[in-house]
């Protein structure tokens, strides 16, 4: 048995039954990281304390301690602060930065008994949809070495799909967890804005950043989110709502009404339309109702996103002055510079009415239209990406082209709704996900729908062959 291929559910069973220890599990992942990371660049750094954390977990288990993730090796994205371990957000500007405190998510992971195995690679600062914009080596797709992983949580996508850790975390500002989910054949979650604390995660855009899991299965994601979520006094935007044990309420015969948003299919790669249609038919055959509808403001979601988020980026990245931590601003990469400048310009006096303020009002309108549409359906389903994983370097020359790969994921960030990618049929031999978008704080329904999709496809049984 190769323990690195296990899901969270089966790994916990194995640990509890004493079939293997956390130390063995962790060592196996570390061996794979050693072997494959120099080529795939899934991790920015490996935790030198991982083995002692694993042994500590084994001791606790021996003493009869019961914790939800006891002894499970997890890879937080590099923008999640973990005290004492370098956090770069994959930018050279932070190459010398060692955080003095833990992010709330990492704190919760530790309290749940997880082992932090290393910090995963990403597009620097979260700026990118491909995994190419990092100062620590481009992340490669485990299913085709010359292709991109999707981003910005590229390292977590490759690490989970390539069996270099059991689960990863990511931050989804415009699609960053769903995109690597889709391109790497794993489950990627963007929870409702305010469901998971943003405290201690290097900020990209404060009004859309949503922290969530990347995992092999829906069950794993549901259980992981139950650990991560909840009210945090250190993040005033977290909601004071109880956190359900999502994973205990997945198997259901419940039938849903699922909406197809017309605008999501306009200009979509034909092969993608076909696999989504197949998924729709399968869900219909299971007894779910399908409803076609239109959300006109979706057409303008991308410009709204770009103007809102880039302005927030300009503001958030202004704190990097090289005085209290990190290097000087000349270390910002080209993509960060581009976004800072667009954001600065579009929110500046004389231009704000035309750009930023217009986007703010548009955002409210989009949210309103989504809310109205959700009165007639339980959830929306649709594509994650408008095209399949492209070759590394192919879109680098035209930033606008790269930005537009986010066009189907950004609406949920603007409205704050929960959304996820669950793996369905491959397109041209490459992984692809179905996007499920639900009502605010209704992650439970989202997981139930995704779980039924997973039962149909069982894509987690397909494994990549790393080279």
């Amino acid at each position: 048995m190769d323990v690195t291929q296990l899901t969270l559910k089966s790994a916990l069973e194995g640990l509890n039954e004493g079939k293997f220890s956390s130390a063995e599990l962790t060592q196996n992942y570390l061996d794979r990281i050693k072997r494959y990371n120099p080529k795939y660049h899934a991790f920015v750094s490996v935790n030198p304390e991982a083995m002692s954390e694993a042994k500590e977990a084994d001791e606790l288990r021996k003493k009869g301690k019961k914790l939800p993730l006891l002894g499970i090796p997890v890879g937080p994205k590099d923008n999640f602060l973990y005290q004492g371990m370098k956090a770069t957000a994959a930018s050279n500007l932070l190459d010398n930065y060692t955080p003095q405190y833990d992010s709330t998510v990492v704190k919760k992971l530790k309290a749940a008994g997880a082992v932090v195995i290393g910090k995963t690679n990403q597009d620097a600062w979260g700026h990118g949809s491909s995994g190419e914009h990092t100062d620590y080596g481009i992340t490669h797709n485990p299913y085709a070495y010359d292709r991109v992983t999707g981003g910005s949580s590229s390292g977590s996508g490759t690490a989970v799909a390539g069996d270099m850790c059991l689960m990863g975390t990511g931050s989804d500002t415009g699609g960053s967890n769903r995109q690597p989910g889709s391109y790497c054949n794993v489950v990627g979650i963007k929870p409702t804005y305010g469901r998971v604390s943003r405290y201690g995660v290097i900020a990209m855009a404060s009004s859309t950043d949503s922290m969530g899991p990347l995992t092999k299965t829906v069950y794993d994601a549901a259980k992981f989110l139950s650990v991560m979520a909840g009210r945090d006094e250190k993040d005033a935007t977290t909601a004071d709502l109880p956190v359900p044990q999502y994973h205990l309420n997945l198997e259901t015969e419940k039938k849903f009404t699922l909406g197809l948003i017309k605008e999501y299919f306009e200009g979509l790669d034909k092969k993608f339309t076909k696999v989504i249609e197949t998924a729709v038919k399968k869900l219909e055959a299971k007894g779910h109702k399908i409803k076609q509808l239109s959300i006109p403001a979706v057409k303008y979601a991308y410009p709204m996103y770009c103007l809102t988020v880039f302005a927030e980026i300009a503001s958030n990245l202004s704190r990097f002055d090289g005085i209290r931590y990190g290097y000087d601003r000349d270390r910002f990469g080209e993509e960060a510079k581009r976004r800072i400048m667009i954001g600065t310009h579009s929110a500046s006096s004389g231009y704000a009415d035309q750009y930023y303020n217009q986007a703010m009002v548009g955002r409210k309108m989009l949210t309103y239209q989504f809310k109205q549409a959700l009165e007639t359906v339980d959830a929306f389903i649709g594509p994650v990406f408008p095209f399949p994983p492209f070759k590394i370097g192919e879109k680098e020359t035209d930033p606008l082209k790269m930005y537009l790969s986010d066009v189907l994921t950004v609406p949920a960030n603007l409205t704050g709704q929960p959304a996820m990618s669950v793996p369905i049929d491959f397109v041209d031999g490459m992984p692809n996900g179905l996007q499920v978008i639900c009502k605010h704080f209704d992650e439970q329904t989202m997981f139930q729908i995704a779980s039924q999709v997973e039962q149909e496809y069982q894509m987690y049984k397909i494994r990549p062959k790393l080279i």
């Binding site: 005033a236 303008y300 770009c306 002055d321 005085i323 209290r324 310009h345 603007l414």
Partner: protein, 100 residues
Amino acid sequence: MVKSKLVSPKLVEHIGLLAKLPLSKTELLKFSEQLSNVLNFMGQLSKLKLDLKKTSPHLNLFNITREDKIDRDRVLTQEQALSQARKTYKGYFLVKAIFS
């Protein structure tokens, strides 16, 4: 007639100054081109007919408060706070002179 760029190299230079980004001459030209393209695309937003008044964020959160008490859990010691700075002086962060 050649359409003038939405963002001229001179404007890029000005934005760079506002955002404290050191930019080379080559970058001024490149970003002028790229920023013009991106903002030109964003301009389509003006076609959107808006019928809602400008309002607060998408979640109905308001007046989030906490007890006015020091949370020791998130207070760094002076040593910790200074630990990541490249230049310090007698327990302070050292910054460049503002007045010359």
